[in-house]
């Protein structure tokens, strides 16, 4: 069961990598967060920790509903064209994503999580989410993708935390969640401002400051 969820998490990440338009990207992010919720729920069930149930609730509330909704609203209101502006085409991006997944497997083995066990699989998926999130940030033109990239990286970190150490201490985890949400809202505010001042949100054209 856990293996299937991990596979789906990875699949949804690849969907984000090949997405060309903003709504598709946000939709795939929603799927990814949903699978992350299921993974956390399963971990909570196995380890019988009430705190992990609460974390799972936070994930479904914030990452499945609130943040994608907020991103959708922002995307509609700024009225720029929906193409993400790919520096790397989808096919090549997918190749990169596969390479990242392999690298994260090597990393998880080297960190001593054992081969073949479910935990090592979870760690592999978590690391590949982090790498792919970083890749999304640098290989797309629109400011939006950078926000989504950070969220993907953070999803990877939550998966990592819940699979290796049974989550962080509860208080810290809630604080991190709150912080993530606030940072998305603030980045949204800046996307608005960029759109207002520059009449576009292409980050590759933000090049006034040099040297």
């Amino acid at each position: 069961m856990q293996g299937i969820i991990l596979f789906l998490l990875l699949a949804s990440t690849y969907l984000m990598i090949i997405a060309k338009r903003m709504p598709a990207l946000i939709r795939s992010f929603r799927y990814q967060s949903l699978f992350l919720f299921l993974a956390t729920l399963l971990a909570a069930f196995h380890e019988k920790q009430i705190e992990l149930y609460l974390v799972a609730m936070m994930i479904i509330f914030l990452k499945v509903f609130l943040i994608p909704y907020f991103l959708n609203v922002t995307a509609k209101r700024i009225k720029v064209d929906e193409n993400l502006g790919l520096f790397v085409n989808p096919q090549l991006s997918l190749v990169f994503a596969l390479i990242f997944t392999y690298c994260s497997w090597v990393l998880s083995v080297n960190l001593g999580f054992g081969q073949g066990s479910l935990q090592s699989m979870a760690v592999t998926v978590a690391f590949s989410l982090i790498f792919n999130g970083a890749f999304l940030m640098i290989s797309r033109m629109k400011a939006f993708t950078q926000v989504v990239g950070i969220l993907v990286m953070e999803n990877g970190i939550f998966l990592f935390a819940s699979s290796v150490s049974g989550g962080m201490p509860f208080f810290a985890e809630i604080a991190v969640f709150f912080d993530v949400f606030v940072s998305v809202v603030i980045m949204g505010v800046f996307v608005f401002r960029i759109n207002k001042l520059f009449t576009h949100i292409d980050v590759n054209k933000l090049s006034r400051l040099k040297g």
């Binding site: 960190l111 001593g112 982090i130 970083a134 940030m137 400011a143 950078q146 990239g149 950070i150 990286m153 953070e154 970190i157 990592f160 935390a161 290796v164 150490s165 049974g166 962080m168 201490p169 208080f171 810290a172 985890e173 604080a175 991190v176 709150f178 912080d179 606030v182 940072s183 603030i186 980045m187 800046f190 401002r193 960029i194 001042l197 520059f198 980050v203 933000l206 006034r208 400051l209 040297g211």
Partner: protein, 485 residues
């Protein structure tokens, strides 16, 4: 309890901005508040020196020598920035650059920013430390983009994205630390004071990988090259008092976070790994920043690159690890904060008088703004490590320690690049400060609060440099205690 004053006053002042509408009046209240904070932080420092450490709020707050040093540095720069803001913000309001409402928004952000920076050294849990550092980014992004011009919004966007991405890696490192802690069969905790005593039984490989993530993550925030790319943009576009806070304190809070993790690594017996990484990043920062300083024309960007240089020096100092080097690095944290604040305040005055950043077109500052001109002139010598100013003492300590420990190559590089940067500064500032006044400029008077700030910082800059020579034995003893945890 002094720590509650330190954390409480900025919060109360932040709430106060909603009730006090007149920014003139509020600026004065702000100053009084930060004076209380400074007093409380010195009282707290004294208590820590006498008792060793303070714990409060059921172990949520944990203060030892290291954290109290950083709190004192923060409060010194905070009161200077509060004092300087009075005149600076009033001028902006009078010239209709910002509205009265936006001025009180400035004070709200200023206080929240200070609160988050005081929180970083005060907390015990490494998870909350992460949250506090992310909070500093989020709040200061608004202060970087405060004037809402194209340049400042671009700088704020780069700042918030690069630092958030970096800090995600730091969170990964934090979780790896907690993983190393939990696999050794201990209870789940992220408290630093719980982790240090058991550091020697933790898995060293995991700790090493975790520390690389921490160094890259928090190093982005600290401005270590090659992760520094956001720094010159953000520091040059921020409001002048905030530039001082960013350069003087914010970078150091990230260094503080690296040190907290580094101390766990050192306790687990991996001191060589820690030392080599810190020295490597320090040297890279020094080399890269000196190149940019040589060709830089923009006044505030020049100062920002100089911050990268000094962070490199601090990083080398902590990397060397002997009591002398660590003492040098800690003093450098303080000295750089004081001197760089003075320079940014001076730069703020110059830019607002001339309305331009390019140093090639600014001439005759000493004639136009006599007080600021002389302060910047002296500050330039202090910043480049000229005796008798305080930065000279801390740099010479670090270089001495490098020679004593046999790092001849590092010491030689340090001396070479410090000399290069010294030359570049003299060349750029000499032309800008002297020379004839441009047509249409007249000598301007300067407000009292602005002059007071310069005197206060100058006193610290000069006084510390002279006093240190006689007190170095006591300080070395304290540093040894600090290294023991």
């Amino acid at each position: 309890m002094a720590i509650f004053i330190i954390l409480g006053v900025p919060l109360l002042l932040a709430i106060g901005t909603f009730f006090v509408k007149r920014e003139r009046f509020f600026g004065v209240i702000n100053c009084v508040g930060y004076f209380a904070v400074l007093w409380a932080s010195i009282a707290m420092c004294r208590e820590v020196v006498l008792t060793g450490y303070i714990q409060a709020l059921s172990n949520f707050i944990y203060l030892d020598l290291l954290s109290s040093v950083f709190i004192v540095v923060t409060s010194v720069v905070a009161i200077a920035a509060a004092l300087y803001s009075i005149a600076y913000i009033r001028k902006d309001v009078e010239q209709k650059i910002i509205s009265e409402r936006k001025a009180s928004f400035f004070y709200l952000l200023f206080n929240l920013f200070c609160f988050s920076m005081f929180l970083v050294p005060a907390v015990n849990s490494l998870g909350i430390l992460w949250v506090a550092i992310e909070m500093t980014t989020l709040i200061s992004a608004f202060l970087v983009g405060f004037y809402n011009s194209k340049e400042s919004v671009e700088a704020a966007w780069k700042y918030i994205i690069i630092c958030s991405a970096g800090i995600v890696l730091a969170l990964l490192g934090t979780i790896l630390f907690s993983y190393a802690f939990s696999v050794s069969g201990l209870s789940k905790s992220l408290n630093w004071s719980d982790m240090v005593p058991v550091a020697h039984i933790l898995d060293k490989n995991v700790l090493k990988v975790a520390f690389i993530f921490i160094l890259v993550g928090y190093g982005t925030k600290a401005g270590l090259a090659p992760m520094h790319t956001w720094l010159p943009d953000a520091h040059s576009q921020a409001v002048a008092p905030i530039s001082a806070l960013l350069s003087g304190v914010l970078l150091k809070t990230a260094v503080y976070a690296i040190l907290r993790f580094g101390m766990i690594l050192i306790k687990s017996g991996e001191i060589v790994f820690f030392a080599h990484l810190m020295i490597l990043f320090g040297v890279i920062s020094l080399v890269i920043s000196s190149g940019f300083i040589l060709v830089q024309k923009d006044l505030k960007r020049l100062l920002a690159y100089s911050s990268i240089e000094h962070i490199g020096v601090i990083s080398i100092g902590f990397g060397l690890g002997s009591p002398l080097a660590v003492l040098g690095a800690i003093l450098h944290v303080f000295n750089h904060a004081v001197t760089k604040s003075l320079m940014f305040f001076g730069a703020g005055n110059i830019v607002s008088a001339y309305k331009k950043h390019n140093m090639n077109t600014i001439r005759g500052v000493i004639k136009a703004l006599p007080f600021t001109g002389i302060a910047v002139f002296l500050g330039m010598f202090a910043l480049t490590g000229f005796p008798p100013f305080s930065i000279f003492i801390s740099e010479i300590m670090i270089i001495m320690a490098a020679f004593v420990q046999g790092y001849y190559f590092v010491a030689a590089l340090l001396l070479l690049f410090l000399a290069v940067i010294f030359g570049a500064f003299i060349f750029r500032f000499g032309k800008m400060l002297f020379g004839n006044l441009p047509k249409g400029m007249v000598a301007q008077g300067e407000p009292l609060s602005g002059k007071l700030v310069f005197l206060f910082l100058f006193f610290l800059m000069c006084g510390v440099g002279i006093v240190l020579v006689f007190k170095s034995k006591d300080l070395l003893w304290l540093t040894q205690r600090l290294l023991q945890g």
